[in-house]
Amino acid sequence: MRIALFLFALLAALNLPAAELRQPTPDVHALVGVRIVTAPGQVIESGSVIVRDGIIEAVGADASVPPDARVHEFPREDGQDPMVVYPGLIEPYLPIEFPEPEDDAVPPGRHALVQPDRRITASDWPEERIGELRQAGFTTALMAGDIGLLRGHGVITNTGDAGLGVNRLSSQFGQFVSFADRAEGRSFPNSLMGAVALVRQTMDDARWQAQARAAMQRNPAQSRPEWLEGLDDLRPALAGETPMVFESQDLLDTLRILEFIPPGDIDLAIVGHGAEYQRLDALAERPVRHILPLNFPEAPDIEQGQERDVSLEALRHWHQAPENPARILEAGIPMMVTSHGLSAPGQVYARLAVAIERGLDPDAALAAVTTEPARWLGLEDRAGRIRPGMMANLIVVEGDLLTENPAITEVWVDGQRHVLASLEPPAVDPAGTWDLVLGLGGMGDVEATLALEGAPTSMTGTLSVMGNDSPLNEVRVSGERVIATIDGGRFGGSGTISIRLDIDGERARGSGSGPFGEFSVRGQRSARPDDEEAI
């Protein structure tokens, strides 16, 4: 299967007509003997899901398996969790990186931060992030640009592995806006109030352009109005035909956005910030749809005797942030959940589990990543549920999905099955202290210390670079390899820094990559856990 896929991808890349390579048989699958959560709160205890050509053909306790189907069985032993099929999750906000525009690349009459006409194209396809999303169980996503003030159109896409052309569902959804960006140096705008002013002026310019054009059509015998390129693309959002999606930076920004877009034609949605609970009364007066990040802060570091160094403000937010999703729903504000802001999309489960523990209804939690975004995206009859006629976007998981660390084994996108790479059982115990050299090529070497502790199946660790300690996000041991990730923000970047080390006794050799580029890693173990205790 994987080889076939690989060949397919290779040949597709060679631009040969794909049809010649297709199997003549239809792509039919039956997932049998599974528990099926067809939608939030709707469960079939034991049944089958039939998939034909990427579409769910039948689902139910007594759905009959077609003779041409490939049958997928999931034998279970006593005491094992049942295999459960869920609808694939929908990510309602996937900002993707665009290259920063160069100032001199902006033609006259245009502002680099005002790009409402920008569309995500096949060449922008963020293959790696799409892969991460898919592995985390997200099968559909709304992608949008992440820079500028007026950022352009969103694209709704599935998360299959063959690029935008195959996965695209709609390239005209939403207009993305933010007040966060600034021009460089002394260019306009270099303040928040300047950014707001520019967005305000642009929206009025777009309205003017529509009026001016209409007047010109009625009466061509007059001076031609100036043509403002790109602003026609704002029209659908200004008319309420598609949502205007504002990314909010904080609570004051949300209040600013609500005041900036008064009730009226515009169909406003807000990408939230996680502190909405602080002024729910103000937000509930006008319940605007929220896309909510689950960026709950970690518990503050508290040093003995230095408790006052931890601010009450930070403590309050740490304590209350996990209640944010539940309280937003209680206040009557429609809500979806995004994995945006988490270091990996798979973290959404642990965060939802915490939110559920802190009062969020589990069905509402599932709805916030399935039926709610499906409805908002106009995909109610295509995604978010397991129902005949819908896209075969599925998650297969051992046991419940909304737990801290769900055991997802398969993700199906458009009837295409993706088996998640499973880790090999650990073959080495890398616990201890490793003295490493990070090779930065022409820039020379940087020394680092990697401390790993715990059993190989549940390790934690810290990377110290020139005296500064960064906790590892995740450490996995697979066979003889250690795979570790660190939040790039620790080094002033974005995304994740990952390190792969092959362990050979007391020596390690491998490589790393991150937002800053690639580097090599080599070194040896200087202490084992026992030695440390002896010291």
Binding site: A180, M193, Q201, A215, E298, I302, E313, M443
Partner: protein, 502 residues
């Protein structure tokens, strides 16, 4: 190249000192607005009215539904009135600070263009700024949030009342006249900037010229819009394009938006008044006005007010001629004069700035107090609502434990709209409950840390992701960065106004 960036990033990460992100215990969002009693009576106080009535000794002040109802001896008060025994205490109007940047977020200056009349402080009021509470503790009840002085025509201002706890839109003082910041002299001409991209103008006469030109453009803009026909004919004719910058400047020359212009030197103030007179409107105030004493009669004849520092001088070339007698001399010349802070810390002790006007220039004490109450209120167009103690006015007042111009006196209570927003005794009680809340949350956090250290799922990421705010991250310079207990935004100031060594 990428490796170079990585190396630099690591180096930067390692060498930057860890900056304490210490913030105050109280936050606006969880500070419920104090109740507004139906009636409040302050008994037996020395009341500084800031009106012609002067200072009244041993009188009562009666407040009903947020407004002052009466001032007099032995007033009858409803049975349910909140009674305050103010024997030995002084009551003054709430202090009005006509030049502040204390509650602005995301930058005080839009420093890019020579005119940024389209930017609005209203959009960026920082309701969470602890400055609001701290200035209440200094008796301040309303402040004028001004754009900085980086441009000849700066942004639109916002006057707020110190309703600590309210969201931004409820802070806005709706009675205030619309206004806009102008600036003359060294700042708009970029004298002290490290500027790789100089902009026009670079001289004082250039500033005068660009203002005149923008006024003319705005006049043309307004008439183009007014000449656009209404109804069917209007629909068939291409309308003039909206321009928020020119629209705001047009409001200025039509007298609908007041000019509050940063200015130091006499010659440039005279020049701006001449332009205004040509366009037939009045400059509402000059700000700082260090050489105002040289042109008192001219300011008075034009009708311009003056909002000034009393003893900030010689901090740059154009401030070299400042004198402490300036406010008194201008007041005596008939100029509507007030004292301002331009600084969130100074704003907490404006009573002492007023006291200096007694020392320098020998103003009587009551007039000195008017420099921080009635007169700035009049400058902002809110004199019929606040800044004085008289029937019908908003109940914005301060209880002092002694003479308000004494360094030994302090604020006991500050009332805004008949609500007790600051009460020293309540503040002291609150500190205990905050300490208890802190201890409780620390215990919870410690308990959870013990739990999660056994937990294989590390969740050490979101802080940096979620806190990403390009505005905050880009900030490199912090005024008075040695002060603790402030977020960077709370120390926001007009970096072009007084500093010049960067």
């Amino acid at each position: 190249m990428k490796r170079l960036t990585l190396a630099l990033a690591i180096a930067a990460f390692v060498t930057l000192p860890a900056l304490a992100d210490w913030t105050p215990d109280i936050e606006a969002w969880n500070s419920a607005p104090p109740p507004q009693p139906g009636a409040v009576v302050v008994r037996g106080a020395t009341v500084w009215t800031a009106t012609g009535a002067g200072i009244l000794e041993n009188v009562d002040l009666l407040v009903r539904d947020g407004r002052i109802a009466a001032i007099g001896e032995s007033l009858d008060a409803p049975a349910n009135a909140v009674e305050i025994d103010a024997a030995g205490m002084h009551v003054t109007p709430g202090i009005i600070d006509a030049h502040s940047h204390a509650a602005i977020i995301g930058g005080v200056n839009e420093s890019s263009r020579i005119s940024t009349a389209d930017v609005r402080i209203r959009d960026v009021i920082d309701a969470e700024s602890i400055n609001i509470y701290r200035q209440l503790a200094g008796g301040v009840t309303a402040i004028n949030l001004l754009h900085g002085s980086a441009n000849a025509i700066g942004g639109q201002m916002a006057v707020i009342k110190m309703r600590w706890g309210a969201p931004p839109e409820e802070l806005v003082f709706d009675a205030a006249r619309p206004g806009i910041k102008f600036a003359l002299g060294e700042n708009p001409k970029q004298s002290n900037w490290n500027n790789d991209t100089p902009r026009y103008p670079q001289t004082r006469q250039g500033v005068e010229q660009i203002i005149r030109e923008l006024f003319q453009q705005a006049a043309d803009y307004r008439s183009a819009h007014e000449n656009h026909p209404e109804g069917r004919a209007g629909r068939d004719q291409v309308p003039p394009r909206p321009d928020h910058r020119l629209a705001a400047v047009a409001e200025v020359i039509y007298g609908e938006r007041d000019v509050h212009s940063h200015a130091y030197r006499a010659d440039e103030m005279l020049a701006l008044m001449r332009i205004a007179e040509q366009f037939d409107f009045t400059i509402r105030t000059f700000q700082h006005v260090l050489e105002g004493y040289k042109i008192g009669p001219q300011l008075a004849a034009h009708g311009a007010g003056a909002s000034v520092f009393i003893d900030w001088w010689a901090f740059k070339q154009e401030a070299i001629d400042a004198i402490g007698y300036n406010p008194a001399l201008m007041h005596q010349a008939g100029v509507l004069t007030g004292l301002h802070s331009d600084n969130p810390e100074l704003a907490r002790r404006m009573n002492l700035e007023a006291a200096k006007a007694v020392r320098y220039g020998d103003l009587d004490e009551h007039t000195a107090l008017q420099l921080i109450t009635a007169f700035p209120a009049d400058q902002l167009g809110v004199g019929a609502r606040t800044g004085r103690l008289a029937p019908e006015l908003d109940a914005d007042f301060v209880l002092w434990n002694g003479h308000p111009l004494s360094v030994y006196s302090r604020v006991e209570q500050t009332w805004v709209d008949g609500r007790r927003y600051f009460d020293r005794a309540a503040d002291e009680r609150m500190r205990e409950s905050l300490a208890a809340e802190h201890a409780e949350l620390i215990a919870l956090a410690q308990a959870s840390e013990d739990e999660s250290s056994d937990d294989e799922q590390g969740n050490a990421e979101s802080e940096t992701d979620s806190d990403a705010d390009p505005g905050k991250r880009r900030r490199t310079m912090s005024f008075a960065s040695h002060l603790t207990g402030y977020r960077a935004s709370e120390l926001d100031h007009d970096e072009y106004c007084i500093l010049h060594d960067h």
